[in-house]
């Protein structure tokens, strides 16, 4: 089969993150190719380069074997490339017909546009009410509208970025049917997905990206979920990870430690409001334990952690957490800190009422400032003074400040989301040391990281979350075994 889209030796760097390092990708006519990879492997970036949303630092893009510089999505569409984004891009206040016309670049009388869009949805077998406002559509229909929008320009190449992530199995099946029909009629499709079973069933070829390079490409017939998982997570030695610094396998705390977190039959809704994120969660964490949650994004770990941290109200079930609770949120600048406030004020924010410098609702700022100065010194936060605005610090120092604030209260329970995201090696090591010290001091620690290696490195116990279900990984579990537990689609047992 002739290649229709080729991406050769693509490099792309975003600030300090090397998203793609020499990725090669070929799409041939009439095929459905699944593109797999962990979060941050570079899947979306690669597709955005093909669609003209991102310019590569190096490498070549060829369409029909001719080198092309795709500088904008408009140019990509003229070359016959369509993209279905990971998030919804319809204008909520416009009708379905108007949204389709907007995406396809049609002009004319509204009645005409309405008829044209109706004809299109009929032809595609994806019925939609043309007069409904996009904002009023259900999630399933919104997703359908996104597909129709991408197909409205009659592309030959369709790139789909996790189109089934929000769909129920039956709806996902229907969507996969549409993609297959598109390929049978001569089109070529790339399907980014986290669902390995889906990739194995729907694709003619499976390609795996890992840390910005293609680590595997081939027919799904020769693959199993486990072998794909290994390609995604890396060919690490298939033995239990024993490392001198790793907490796991080193000091299993005595079971006599006081229980600080206990949940049973816990259910938590998705943050978006659609559906259940945590199904029937049960977990016990004792004083001194560091428990890591291994999960692929969107499997309920965020909701689990936030419910335990008291930031999200669970739907039902038992949840007992000792106070005070320290919480390190994922997003430093929008949730962890207020960039426009001083470091002192940001430290005071986390303390709330229990701070020693608060007396009957009155804040003694001088005392808070002194305490902040101590924290900056103890936690090696590089800042000129406690009066500096938090927004002026580097990411690593902001994160250290948050950790300092949360640990200064001597929490009984510490919950952390991606505590070292985007940090360099030394900042990461320093934060890991702090978390270990907190556990050593008797805190129960629960954390999640998108980086499986970090979970294995820092945690003494690993629990895996997949599709809202919580499973404890056996202490002897290897990296690959945990990897396939993360990607398992059916409930175990």
């Amino acid at each position: 089969m002739a290649p229709v889209l080729e991406l050769v030796g693509i490099h792309k760097r975003f600030g300090s993150v090397q998203a793609l390092r020499g990725a090669d990708f070929v799409l041939t006519a009439g095929e459905v190719q699944a593109l797999l990879g962990e979060n941050g492997a570079g899947k979306t970036t690669l597709m955005h380069i093909a669609y003209g949303l991102v310019r590569p630092d190096a490498g070549e893009v060829r369409v029909d074997a001719a080198p092309r510089l795709i500088a904008s999505p408009g140019q990509a569409r003229r070359l016959g490339i369509g993209l279905v984004h990971q998030h919804f891009t319809a204008v909520p206040a416009l009708t379905v017909a108007e949204n389709i016309a907007l995406a396809a670049g049609w002009s004319g009388h509204p009645r005409q546009l309405r008829l044209r869009s109706e004809a299109l949805t009929d032809r595609l077998g994806l019925p939609l009410d043309p007069d409904q406002r996009a904002g009023r559509l259900s999630v399933v229909l919104k997703q359908r509208l996104e597909i129709v929008k991408a197909l409205a320009g009659d592309p030959r190449i369709l790139l789909l970025d996790e189109p089934t992530a929000v769909l129920a199995p039956a709806e996902a099946e229907e969507l996969l049917g549409v993609i297959r029909r598109f390929a049978q009629s001569g089109g070529s499709a790339v399907l980014i997905t986290h669902k390995l079973d889906e990739a194995l069933r729907a694709a003619d070829r499976v390609t795996v990206l890992r840390q910005g390079t293609v680590t595997h490409t081939g027919s799904p017939a020769t693959q199993t979920i486990d072998s794909l998982a290994r390609a995604m997570i890396g060919a690490a030695p298939d033995l239990p990870l024993v490392s001198s610094v790793s907490g796991r396998h080193r000091a299993i705390p005595p079971p006599s430690g006081r229980v600080l977190v206990r949940l049973d039959a816990l259910e938590v809704s998705r943050e978006s409001g659609y559906g259940i994120a945590v199904k029937h969660g049960a977990l016990v964490i004792r004083a001194g334990e560091i428990v890591g949650v291994a999960a692929v994004e969107g499997n309920g770990q965020r909701e689990l952690l936030r419910a335990i941290a008291g930031r999200l109200l669970p739907l039902r079930g038992r949840l007992e957490v000792e106070r005070p609770i320290g919480f390190i949120p994922e997003d430093r600048t929008s949730e962890g800190l207020i960039p426009d406030m001083s470091l002192t004020e940001n430290v005071a924010l986390g303390w709330n009422d229990g701070a020693p410098w608060i007396q009957r609702g009155r804040i003694r700022w001088r005392e808070a400032r002194n305490r902040t100065a101590d924290l900056l010194r103890d936690f090696e936060v590089l800042a000129t003074s406690p009066d500096t605005k938090a927004g002026a610090l580097s990411g690593g120092n902001q994160q250290k400040l948050i950790v300092a604030r949360e640990l200064a209260r001597i929490p009984a329970v510490l919950v952390a989301e991606n505590p070292t995201r985007g940090l360099d090696v030394s900042a990461t090591a320093s934060i890991h040391a702090r978390i270990r010290a907190a556990a050593g001091g008797g805190a129960a620690v629960l954390f999640h990281s998108n980086d499986l290696d970090e979970v294995l490195h820092l945690a003494q116990r690993v629990v895996v979350m997949s599709r809202g279900l919580l499973t404890e990984a056996p202490a002897s579990a290897s990296r690959a075994e945990i990897g396939s537990m993360m990607l398992r689609t059916e409930a175990p047992g």
Binding site: E335, G336, I338, G350, N352, I358, R362, W365
Partner: protein
């Protein structure tokens, strides 16, 4: 520090445009600006009885709007809350006859504040319950309040003689004492409000939480365990109470009666006062007095130089635009750069 420069820049720009306009229209600019100054600050009487009297409602409303802004809410309905307070004050001032001397006055002030808060409670409820944007709901309720005043002064609250569409004069016991010229004790109340709010913002957990919510509702919730929407609602209620109090003070200290157009747009000018004052209580005090001086001087300018008094609204408008620009990150950066460029030059000029 930058905020003060901002305010000065806004004022200078406004006055410069006014001077240029006066010249262009063929007025005697020095004479007109001189009259503007004399009318506002020319004598102790002018300063207290014209400028400070006008400043009282502006300061109270400005403080309220600043409180809402600090808490991340936009109160565009101070005009309506002012009238709600004025209506309640008038009712108390006409009817409460019993009790010791000061009771009627205290009751009047408290009731007017409650009425202002109650008027904004409707938008607050709509916001919490249905997510209605308070910018729109508070604004629309202004018209309702104005229509209500109009209805009342031609109906149940109309003077007994039934000639003019206004209420009877309130009882002497419900009036604020005068403290010099026409200046009434409401000015002291405004000063007290400045001190109280300064203390709340700078020294208390409540004020700190309010500021946190205003700067980042998400971080306030996640890292500070603060209920952001409740905090914003509280800020709006306080804002309404202050605007209502302004209405009560105006009735009790200046007009002694309720009538239509009691407010020459205090509720809107108050937004300019709050922004020009950098949302800081002391800044609001200064900017409130400044805007009041401008309006007091406008009358003198019309009398002595024949310039229509509305000309000063040009200055106000420019101040609003510049002050609003200051609140945007891009605008703030821009003016900071302008100021950096001007400052060394000014320093050289002084040397």
């Amino acid at each position: 520090m930058i905020r003060i420069w901002w305010g000065l820049l806004a004022i200078l720009l406004g006055l410069a445009v006014l001077a240029g306009w006066l010249e262009a229209m063929g007025y005697d600019a020095p004479l007109a600006l001189g009259a503007l100054w004399t009318g506002a600050f020319g004598s102790w009487y002018n300063f207290t009885s014209a400028t400070l009297v006008r400043s009282v409602p502006l300061i109270l409303i400005g403080l309220g709007i600043a409180t809402a802004f600090r808490g991340g809410a936009f109160n565009i309905g101070a005009e309506g809350q002012f009238y709600a307070g004025a209506i309640a004050a008038t009712w108390v001032g006409l009817h409460v006859t019993a009790g010791p001397g000061i009771l009627a006055l205290v009751l009047l002030l408290i009731t007017s504040a409650i009425a202002g808060a109650a008027w904004v409670a409707v938008p607050v409820w709509l916001k919490l319950r249905f997510g209605v944007i308070e910018v729109i709901s508070t604004l629309l309720l202004n018209f309702v309040a104005e229509a209500m005043v109009s209805l009342l002064v031609q109906g149940p609250l109309q003077e007994r003689s039934g000639i003019y569409p206004q209420s009877d004069l309130i009882l002497d016991t419900a009036r604020l004492p005068l403290i010099g010229g026409r200046l009434h004790a409401g000015f002291l109340l405004a000063l007290a409000a400045v001190v109280v709010l300064w203390y709340l913002f700078a020294r208390t957990m409540w004020g700190f939480r309010l500021r946190a919510v205003g700067l980042s509702p998400r971080a306030a919730e996640v890292s500070g365990s603060i209920d952001s929407s409740k905090m914003a609602a509280t800020a709006l209620l306080c804002s309404g109470a202050l605007a209502g109090l302004a209405g009560g003070v105006e009735v009790s200290g200046v007009s002694y009666a309720l009538y239509q157009n009691l407010s020459p747009g205090y509720g809107f000018t108050g937004i300019a006062v709050a922004l020009l004052g950098g949302l800081h209580p002391v800044g609001v005090l200064i900017s409130g007095i400044f805007i009041a001086a401008l309006e007091a001087g406008a009358g003198a300018m019309q009398r002595d130089a024949g310039v229509p008094s509305v000309a000063v609204y040009v200055v106000e408008a420019i101040i609003i635009v510049v002050a609003a620009l200051a609140t945007t990150p891009k605008g703030g950066l821009m003016t900071t750069q302008v100021i950096r460029r001007i400052r060394p030059r000014a320093a050289r000029a002084r040397a």
